[in-house]
Amino acid sequence: SQTIHQWPATLVQPVGSPLSLECTVEGTSNPNLYWYRQAAGRGLQLLFYSVGIGQISSEVPQNLSASRPQDRQFILSSKKLLLSDSGFYLCAWSGDSKETQYFGPGTRLLVL
C-alpha cells in the first residue's frame, strides 16, 4: 500500500531564516505530487504541483520554491522566511491528475 511522509511535523523558525520541508511517497511510482498551505482557520491553497522529476508548476508567486530531485521526493524551500509563511503545509500525491489526492500528516510552521 502507498504511504506518504512529511517532516518535520512542527517547525518554529525566525523571520529571514531558510526553510526546507520534505515529502516522500512509498509504494507507488511516478506520482503527481502537490504542496498546499493552509493558514489558520482558512481553506487550502495549492502552492506547487509536479507531474515528474524536475517538473514543477507554481500556482502562487511568493518567496517559496519547490523541487523534485527524485521520483517520490518533493521538497518545499525558502531562502528567507516571512511572517506570512506561517501555516500548515500539506503534501499530497495522486496517481493521475484526475485521481484522488492522498495527503500526508502535514507540517506546522510558525515563523516568529
Binding site: 481553506g43 495549492l46 504541483y49 500548515f88 500539506l90 484526475k98 484522488t100 495527503f103 506546522r108
Partner: protein, 114 residues
C-alpha cells in the same frame, strides 16, 4: 470557471443527531469528479469519497451517506447518529476533465457536542 461553495462555515449539533453538510459546485464541463475530505484536529486530510459526474447513485458507507444531484449541482454529505469523533472540518472538492488542479471549498467546521 470552476467553483465549490460550502455555505455552512460552522455547524454544531448534539451527539446522535443527524447532520447534513452542503456542497454546491459550478462547472461547465460535463466530465468531472467530486470529493469529500475530513480534516480532524490532527490536521491530516482524510479522503472519504470520490464520485464521477456520470454516476448519480447515492452512496452509503456506515453512518455516512452522500447525495449527488446534478440538477442542483449539489453533492451533500449526511452523517447519521453523529458521534463526537465526527468533529472535524469537512472539505468538498471538484476537479474537471480539463483541469489538472482540484478545487476545494472553504470547508465546514462540524462540532459534535456530547
Amino acid at each position: 470557471a470552476q467553483k465549490v461553495t460550502q455555505a455552512q462555515t460552522e455547524i454544531s449539533v448534539v451527539e446522535k443527531e443527524d447532520v447534513t453538510l452542503d456542497c454546491v459546485y459550478e462547472t461547465r464541463d460535463t466530465t468531472y469528479y467530486l470529493f469529500w475530505y475530513k480534516q480532524p484536529p490532527s490536521g491530516e486530510l482524510v479522503f472519504l469519497i470520490r464520485r464521477n459526474s456520470f454516476d448519480e447513485q447515492n452512496e452509503i458507507s456506515g453512518r455516512y451517506s452522500w447525495n449527488f444531484q446534478k440538477s442542483t449541482s449539489s453533492f451533500n454529505f449526511t452523517i447519521t447518529a453523529s458521534q463526537v469523533v465526527d468533529s472535524a472540518v469537512y472539505f468538498c472538492a471538484l476537479i474537471t476533465n480539463r483541469d489538472d488542479k482540484i478545487i476545494f471549498g472553504k470547508g465546514t467546521r462540524l462540532h459534535i457536542l456530547p
